[in-house]
Symmetry: C2
């Protein structure tokens, strides 16, 4: 039963330094109008003792709001980002007592100019912190330069941009997740049948870095352990199901021995629909992300595994980390790779139930 020693208050520091609490407050917050002599006295005391401000009192007394901006890509297929946003809102709520206020802005991932524009808006807003999903390198780099100039702390969400060190990064390691996906796919492919990689066709470059990395990891696995196993790519124009189905029919007619496939984006349900329609129930399929459509397909067996990446948690952690940094200068590991979760029909309910565990 450890009895914690009585906490040191600002008052105590003031007493020991022989100044008033107001002066201590000024020193602690780096506010102006403190004589070098007074500052020295306070600094001396601060070095001697281990002062930790009472966050609760601090929150209670704080008057100004905490303004955080999130800059996310605006995708039409919203499922995944909706989960991220839910986590962001949870984080906002968790810091509501500190008057945290999170504003979400969007850019078009296929149009760099909108990213540039949104970045400029953010700089004009001058929030206390920015959480954003990196776009193409040069645009991202330009934004970061401005952020650093204006001393606005920033966090990467979902995508990494290695040239600069952010306050933190939250996202999955795409390459490793692709590697793991390959392993699981091949577990279901004991006959070493040909493997099928489905891709969206003519997609913009922005945002597909993730998918490219996943595919790289996938290929690394295949090149290491299954050089003998044929791999076919199939580009699908997604937006037009009829055309997709025609292409698929053609492909399967040409390669009736293909038995397993994978998608490196959230669109696995589209393939699942095709498989159901054609009654191809012995084709094994792996996809990404727990979109409601994917979840349905997982439940009815047309998708075998989904790789999940805890989007809510990413959003939540980002906001939490930013708030704690701004409020208490608390820093943590800058790079956080999120767990790579394998979800099957059997374990799905437990993953779903834990999505919203903080209300």
């Amino acid at each position: 039963m450890k009895t914690s020693q009585p906490k040191i208050r600002i008052k105590d520091i003031a007493l020991r330094a022989g100044v008033s609490v107001g002066t201590v407050d000024r020193v602690l917050h780096g506010r102006p109008n403190v004589s070098p002599k007074s500052k020295a006295k306070v600094d001396k005391v601060l070095k001697e003792i281990d002062y930790e401000p009472n966050r609760m009192a601090s929150a209670l007394a704080r008057t100004k709001a905490l303004r955080i901006v999130c800059l996310l890509p605006q995708y039409a297929l919203g499922g995944y980002w909706e989960d991220v946003i839910r986590g962001i809102r949870q984080g906002e709520k968790a810091f509501a007592d500190f008057r945290a206020n999170v504003e979400i802005k969007y850019y078009d991932p296929y149009n760099y100019y909108t990213f540039e524009l949104a970045g400029q808006e953010v700089l004009k807003d001058a929030p206390d912190g920015l959480i954003f999903v990196p776009s193409a390198a040069e645009y991202t780099s330009r934004l970061i330069d401005s952020l650093e100039e204006n001393e606005i702390p920033f966090i990467y969400l979902d995508g990494e941009y290695k040239a600069h060190t952010p306050l933190a990064f939250f996202g999955q390691h795409p390459q490793k997740s692709g590697f793991f996906a390959a392993k699981m796919l091949m577990l279901m492919n004991s006959g070493r049948a040909p493997v099928l990689i489905f891709r969206k066709k003519s997609e913009g470059i922005v945002g597909s870095y993730q998918q490219a990395q996943r595919e790289e990891g996938f290929n690394e696995y295949m090149n290491t352990y299954h050089t003998d196993c044929p791999i076919y790519d199939l580009d699908l124009p997604v937006k037009h199901p009829e055309e997709d189905h025609k292409l698929l029919d053609e492909f399967f007619a040409a390669h009736p021995d293909a038995k397993v496939g994978i998608l490196f984006n959230s669109n696995a349900f589209i393939l699942a629909d095709y498989l159901k329609k054609r009654n191809k129930d012995n084709f094994r399929l792996i996809g990404y992300d727990l979109l409601s459509q994917n979840v349905e397909a997982l439940e009815d067996g047309s998708i075998d595994f989904l790789i999940a990446q805890d989007p809510e948690r990413q959003g939540y952690m980002s906001v939490q980390t930013m708030c704690e940094y701004i409020l208490f200068r608390k820093e943590r590991e800058p790079i956080h790779y999120m767990p790579i979760h394998l979800v099957s029909k059997e374990t799905l309910p437990f993953h779903m139930a834990n999505k919203l565990i903080n209300e």
Copy 2:
């Protein structure tokens, strides 16, 4: 840009209910000396509006400590419970500003009397809340009766005891996890070779309910999808490696075709050691829990998959839930089945990194 509506304070409730803040305070905390009429008035207002206490002000004003007791089984092989305890300590820390104090007590899972005794001690202590791992039904039931009599809220950790409704339960669904484990094991057993279940021999009854349930789920899967696949049980006296190895040698001599195996407890590393020693590197093995020894075996490939159950999170959630209930009467879903995580060599680092994400 939604401007968050002005927060409702106790004062506001008092005004609307036509009583004083003191009375509202009494109702909110379930303190005595409130007339039914006043209580009704306050309850009415509380139902109308969505009051959320300012935890910061609450923490600041609180003078008394918050006493929570955890009653855990004392196992010699500590790995798993150490993780639970780490989560508990994290929870304690998170509520340190509320003067939360968690005391951990232990009982001998193979000796019911110690559970009984510990329960009596807890009742004498009269803490604000109890978090415990249920023991055998009759003893658990007796403890709960006393707890309810003394109005001490309680939470089940790890094990469920369905006869009573606790404030909450945190643990994995053992039966479903066994079912899932069977699926993964059979994925690695495409040749439909015999399956081996390793068990500890002559173990006490307490605490093995979990394992029995896992095995039941496992068998359910096998009976549903692989009735043709032979299953062998092998009881091992664990404490004596030499004897274990002899038994295993005998078994494998008799059944050279056995290619996959599973353990429903944390001892998979013991089997892994044997497999390494005998160079049986084409035997596939699944186990439970990320003990450091299991993790090592997973890394070196002698274990293929581990089923993890987030023990830290269980501990953390328990403390958090208890604190929030005592402090704010906040209730949540009583039953929380934790996610069933499949961890492989490839995804292990990301699971490990996230263990201690809250410092």
